[in-house]
């Protein structure tokens, strides 16, 4: 398959096989599908140090049975290190990325339907001088749409082996195993006018395409037909709304029973383990610490997997790009782009899957901005807290006839409050530290395709694993810490009443700080324990007052009225609307941004906003009550 002068082989080491091979390709080249096809489940996710860019390392065997590591690099158009993605790719290819061996060879994946644009990247990669295999992906679409390319002529022009493949059907992938086993010599340095500016490389690419008799395929007729509906002036937004409602229902309504099912299973197994063990600290640690911690991790899985399934279908089918176009006009008013819409919407169910879903946003700044505002959306864990406090303090009276009573109105007000703070924060962020002048909204529209079940399944496994390993460990750790704080110091080998525990001391310690909001130390304890999950404050207040909150809800309401004045209750609601009372969200933000910088900033910002707003709410309500 190679067509080099034999003379070049001798300066190549006698390596029998490559150890490390990098896979690069532009976005929308089908690189990920191809990569998944090659490595299957034998891959792990990691972050490069100091950047949000994620990579996969997968393993594949060559014909001799030797294991070769395939590094999947981010989708890039060029090797000029401007964006974080490009910098990472360049560093890995040059072998300067810490902790990553220099690849022995490169596989370049291009979309054969868009060769003239994509050859630009190939030129730049070939110019690095590593043994290179060029794969022209999506051959099935090329042939179906009456396109053509002379692979041998192209290989001659590029000086590297070239193969026409289809990652979805698997056609032509033998070329990869051949390449990996062959130790092809490094390519003859291309006569590249090439490394200069993009325009000259582009002109070179057109010339190379011509000499390889490249015929661009026609746009699939279905893509045109569907676009005339999905991007239609009236039907477009209508269909968009229908899709959005379906997604929302899916995570809210289908996710909840699944979540309850898992919770029920964990509770009953916890109880079962508890029966088998003698009463004592170990049992408490195991059930209320470890098992509860595990529970608070896996309980997110149904929502995460469902959301990624839906978004995966939307993304792979090509609709997500259209949805972004439809939503863009609205989102641009708050300084974000259309791609932020679906993640923000899913934050109404839970910020954890929502923040993981922001990875469909290409622009790093928009992605960070979306991550930072997502927790302001009223998630389902806030609902029990809102419901209880509102029920305790606000008599239910009709407000707008039978349609709206005072309690529902208060609830609605809290939703609006969260939304407004999100919009305000987005505006501030986008006009200060996350200004996206350098990264405007530019979106490539892929043709419509049928989503592949195997590719969807792999992504679900990938996301599930990423969440369990990288965020789950933090969540588990914090749950254990909270357990320890409620079970120590011990008295005569017995855990203390909650009033005498470490967590109570924390509550007392922060009392001077929260006193101006109308909160006493008991609410302080609730604020600490609610870090595990917002609704935990209810159970905590129940425990402190000696009331089983799940059975005697009414008693708890009465107790709460003793605890808090009305202004204090309003302050508590406002505090919960704005505060980052959720370590799972923080753990996921850390995982997605690859560091503690953003979650720390977010926690500080939201706490300050919550504190100031609660303070204001306390005094304003107090003023009106006088």
């Amino acid at each position: 398959m190679t067509c080099h002068p034999v003379a070049r082989v001798d300066d190549q080491a006698v390596a029998t096989s490559y150890r490390t091979v990098a896979v690069v390709g532009p976005p929308n080249s089908g690189k990920t599908t191809l990569y998944n096809r090659l490595t299957g489940l034998r891959q792990k996710v990691g972050n490069f140090p100091g950047v949000t860019v994620e990579h996969h390392i997968g393993y594949i065997r060559d014909q001799a049975g030797e294991e070769i590591a395939l590094i999947d690099l981010p989708g890039i158009y060029s090797l000029i290190p401007k964006s974080e993605d490009e910098r990472v790719a360049v560093e890995v290819l040059h072998g300067t990325m810490p902790g990553m061996p220099r690849p022995d060879a490169v596989i370049v994946v291009l979309n054969s339907n868009n060769l003239n644009s994509h050859l630009v990247l190939a030129a730049r990669v070939i110019a690095l001088g590593l043994p290179t295999l060029v794969l022209l992906n999506m051959a099935d679409e090329l042939h179906k749409q009456n396109g053509a390319v002379d692979v041998l002529a192209l290989a001659r022009e590029l000086g590297t082996p070239v193969a026409l493949v289809s990652a979805t059907t698997g056609v032509g992938l033998a070329a990869v195993t051949n390449f990996l086993s062959s130790s092809a010599p490094a390519p003859e340095p291309l006569e590249l006018p090439v490394i200069g500016n993009t325009r000259s490389v582009r002109e070179w690419a057109v010339r190379v395409g011509e000499s390889a008799n490249y015929r661009r395929p026609a746009t699939p007729v279905w893509t045109r037909r569907l676009d005339s509906i999905f991007l239609h002036r009236t039907w477009g937004p209508v269909i968009f709304l229908a899709v959005v409602i379906a997604v929302f229902q899916m995570i809210f309504i289908a996710g909840k029973p699944l979540q309850d099912l898992i919770q029920g299973f964990l509770d009953s197994t916890g109880a079962w383990i508890g029966q088998a063990m003698p009463d004592g600290l170990l049992r408490s640690l195991l059930i209320n610490g470890v098992w509860k911690g595990v529970g608070s991790v896996v309980v997110f899985l149904p929502q995460i997997l469902l959301l990624f399934l839906v978004i995966g279908i939307l993304e792979d089918s090509g609709y997500l790009a259209r949805a972004a176009v439809i939503a863009d006009r609205t989102m641009s008013r708050v300084g974000l782009n259309g791609k932020s819409f679906i993640p923000l919407l899913s934050a109404y169910a839970c910020a954890v899957p929502a923040i993981m879903a922001t990875r469909t946003i290409e622009s790093k700044r928009d992605r960070i901005a979306t991550i930072l505002i997502a927790p302001f959306m009223t998630c389902s864990a806030r609902l029990p807290v809102y419901t209880m406090v509102i029920a305790a303090f606000l008599p239910g009276r009709p407000l707008l006839g039978p349609f709206l009573n005072t309690r529902a109105a208060a609830m609605l007000g809290l939703y609006v409050l969260g939304f407004l703070m999100a919009v305000l924060t987005a505006r501030v962020l986008k006009s200060t530290i996350l200004r996206s002048k350098d990264a405007p909204f530019i979106l490539e529209m892929p043709p419509y395709r049928w989503p592949q079940a195997s590719s969807l399944a792999l992504r679900l496994v990938d996301r599930g694993k990423a969440f369990l390993y990288r965020a789950g460990t933090v969540i588990l750790l914090v749950t254990l810490l909270l357990w320890a704080a409620t079970n120590f110091p011990m008295h005569n080998g017995q855990p203390p009443a909650i009033q005498d525990s470490v967590v109570a001391s924390v509550g007392h310690a922060i009392e001077p700080v929260i006193r101006p909001l109308g909160f006493d130390w008991k609410i302080g304890v609730g604020l600490v324990t609610s870090l595990a999950a917002r609704e935990v404050i209810i159970a905590t207040l129940g425990t402190i007052n000696g009331i089983d909150a799940s059975v005697h809800e009414f008693d708890l309401q009465t107790a709460l009225r003793h605890e808090l004045s009305l202004p204090g209750a309003v302050a508590l609601l406002v505090f919960f609307a704005f505060a980052m009372q959720c370590m799972s969200t923080l753990a996921v933000v850390r995982r997605e941004t690859n560091g503690w910088k953003w979650p720390a900033a977010q926690f500080a910002y939201m706490t300050v906003v919550a504190y100031i707003s609660a303070y204001a709410a306390y005094h304003i309500t107090g003023y009106f009550m006088r």
Binding site: I80, K82, N114, V120, D227, D328, R329, A439, I442, E444
Partner: protein, 98 residues
């Protein structure tokens, strides 16, 4: 006569080079210049917005912004705030269908 000549020429000039954002849906033009900062221009060129290539306006999103453009088989959506800075020269009459 002279007035007409000047007037007519002015009009034609206005019609032959314009911003991509001024094109109607269905119209085609040749990319002339990207009046944009380097990284953005580079990104657009990687997508196919290279001076000399033909670009057409495929569709318009709701409310007329963003719009979808086509260069060499790639469809790209962008806002007017960006397409304003892409200078093009018109070719032919509006193309209906393909």
């Amino acid at each position: 006569m002279i007035f007409n000549f000047v007037f007519g020429r002015r009009q034609r000039e206005k019609r032959t080079t314009s911003a991509l954002s001024d094109l109607q849906v269905g119209e085609r033009a040749i990319v002339r210049e990207l009046e944009l900062d380097h990284p953005v221009a580079e990104h657009l060129m990687n997508l196919g917005f290279v001076p000399g290539l033909e670009v057409s306006v495929e569709r318009s999103g709701p409310g007329g912004d963003p719009r979808v453009y086509r260069v060499e088989g790639t469809e790209v959506a962008m806002r007017r705030e960006l397409s304003r800075h892409i200078h093009v020269s018109l070719v032919g009459a509006p193309a209906f269908g393909d």
